[in-house]
């Protein structure tokens, strides 16, 4: 394990409030998803269909992107293409300058986080108004999202209250979550209505109409995107769906998997800029299609990961995420999907710990609405890390030693028999300390070995 990752995990495990905060939200999400899935007959078949829709799109992605581009252009939007995060940020900044933007209202977008858009806007001296309540909270705290649906999941109500009191012009007086949300509503509304540019991501890009779909519960996307002169969309190229009915199927899966609702409160399809006679809407609409490693993922064995619709169910159900929260992962995307995506985006050398921070219990794959084989993809990264020699010398030599014994069965059995004997000498029941494994036994006990090993019993059984 790298020192940086170990330090982040240690900090997360030692944080007295983090686990409470994560548990409150992830636990609720897990329970609500279960109810929603139980109320949907054929949910398993619906997952299979959702996976097939995404596979079809990924297999024909070039053709669908060209189709989307043609239809969005026909509707009056301008489509831009970016191979890298830097190119995408440069396009957005150039558009903001063209619009002479002093402030931009941003509706939560994980792709925006992935390409470093908040940082790029700050560098360019453009005021950024995060309008999603959770993004607003972490903007005030100067932090990064810790979950893709609930970016401020790691914050308790007490921490949010302190942040709002320090920065809102007329903060809440009553210490309730409703009063805190009301304080943010008052604080953000004027800022949103005064923004020069609205920036969003996309939940879906609809190829046959050129529409861009956003999904929110708060209505902040619409309030951020309708008043300004310009609407900029940044979207990953894998967000394409062939048509509106395909989007409908995936929306049914998305909301149930994310929040347990049959549908999120606001599902909006934006097709081009303001039309003649319209009383509101932006004069310009720009869509930036971002690759940032996706074509390489498709080529190099990670096409299944491009099915992901960013619902967050995998992390809500992950035993590791529930212990350490999202920040310990160190990337834009946490949890199981993040452990697959981060090595593809940031490089395996910098993130080889993430595929190892997994028990392979398979829960993520069971709840994934598009059936991504996350454990298989994580194992693929482990194997690649080994092949490329990224594992540290201690792990390599330890495994080499084990392999040397394992290929010599008699010697191996003699060695394990000796080890078992000495472990039995240390006492029965549970062992609270083991030589060379102090790190493991610091937090838990090891069961003492049974009086007879499996091999002993097996041999006895054969003799009978």
């Amino acid at each position: 394990m790298t020192a940086a990752f170990a330090a982040r995990v240690d900090a997360a495990l030692a944080d007295p409030v983090l686990k409470i905060a994560v548990e409150r939200t992830a636990g609720t999400a897990e329970a609500k998803r279960t109810l929603a899935v139980d109320a949907f007959p054929d949910f398993e078949a619906a997952r299979t269909r959702a996976a097939a829709i995404k596979d079809h799109v990924v297999a024909n992605l070039g053709a669908y992107l060209e189709r989307f581009e043609a239809n969005a252009t026909a509707a009056g939007a301008t489509v831009h293409w970016a191979s890298t995060a830097q190119e995408a940020c440069d396009i957005v900044l150039a558009l903001c300058r063209q619009a002479k933007a002093k402030s931009v209202a941003r509706s939560k977008s994980m792709l925006g986080e992935e390409i470093g858009l908040p940082h790029a806007l700050a560098e360019a001296g453009i005021e950024r108004i995060e309008t999603d309540l959770a993004e607003h909270i972490i903007q005030l705290a100067g932090e990064r999202p810790s979950h893709i649906i609930w970016p401020a999941m790691h914050k308790t109500r007490e921490q949010v209250s302190a942040l709002f009191k320090a920065s809102h012009h007329a903060p809440h007086e009553e210490e309730t979550i409703a009063a805190m949300a009301e304080s943010a509503r008052r604080h953000l509304r004027d800022a949103m209505l005064g923004a020069d540019v609205g920036i969003s991501g996309a939940n879906f890009l609809v190829a046959d109409t050129g529409a861009v779909c956003t999904v929110t519960n708060e209505g902040n996307a619409e309030l951020s995107l309708v008043p300004p002169r310009m609407h900029i969309v940044t979207a990953g190229i894998e967000k394409i769906v062939p048509s509106m009915p395909h989007a409908v199927h995936l929306l049914r899966m998305l909301s149930r998997s994310a929040t347990g609702a049959p549908l999120s409160q606001y599902t909006t399809f934006y097709t081009g800029p303001r039309r003649p006679g319209d009383r509101d809407g932006p004069a310009e609409m720009h869509i930036v299609l971002v690759d940032n490693g996706r074509t390489r993922m498709r080529r190099e064995g990670l096409a299944e990961m491009l099915r992901c619709i960013r619902c967050g169910a995998c992390m809500n159900h992950c035993v590791v995420f529930r212990q350490i929260g999202g920040h310990a992962y160190g990337g834009t995307y946490p949890g199981p999907m993040g452990a697959v995506l981060t090595p593809a985006i940031d490089g395996l050398a910098a993130s080889r710990d993430l595929p190892n921070a997994c028990t392979l219990n398979g829960k993520c794959q069971e709840v994934c609405p598009v059936r991504i084989p996350l454990p298989t993809l994580l194992r693929g990264w482990r194997e690649k890390s080994w092949r490329e020699g990224l594992e540290p010398a201690s792990v390599r030599s330890g495994l080499a030693l084990w392999a040397w014994f394992a290929r010599r069965p008699r010697l191996y059995r003699a060695a394990t028999a000796t080890a078992l004997k000495s472990a039995r000498l240390m006492g029965g029941g549970w062992l609270s300390r083991l030589p060379l494994a102090g790190g493991w036994t610091r937090h838990r006990d090891m069961p003492a070995p049974a009086p007879k090993s499996f091999m002993d019993q097996y041999r006895q059984g054969r003799r009978r």
Binding site: L133, M153, L223, H246, L263, R279
Partner: protein
Amino acid sequence: MSARDAILAALGPASGDDLDRAAAALLIDPERPPVDPTQLEETFAARLLLPSVAASYAAVAGFADVPAAIAAYCAEHGLPRHLCAPPDPRLDAADWSGIDRHLDPAPDEPLALAVAECGVAETGSLVMRTAPTAPMLPNFLALHHVVVVPRLVAYLEDALPTEPMPRGYYWITGVSGTTDIEGTYVRGAHGPRYLHVIRLISEN
């Protein structure tokens, strides 16, 4: 090479299948929560009461009855008879005496009226589209949002536009809400805190 050319080159040619036929095959008999077509009114009204939707509901005959329904809603909630309403000719034809209507929403607009294209029994969604007679912003600024629903359909698919897409096509499924602080549900996050549906029974 431009980014566009680089991305398309990296993706290579399509699989060679007939795209439209393959895409259509993925939609045959889709799984969805069952809706009894003979019970659309009851199902829709029940969906509006779900905690995540949390809308109130009134049924009247037609557009001519909308002003009276608005007056009743204002009385119930202690609101002045003063609302932001779209320039929709079907509304204009009604008798609005005693109710003050304006077109442009205030930043803290207390009450806005809109006409939905239809309601969806599957989810309790209100299907909206922008047009010169249907602005979008008032529907998100208002604290109280009242929506007239002239027609019902069973499923979301039944509500999809058949003609070219309007600029904004959107489904409202409940009041603005958030669970961003400790997963606790709060209504009225940025948009309306109250949603009231006026169902026009005889328009269907």
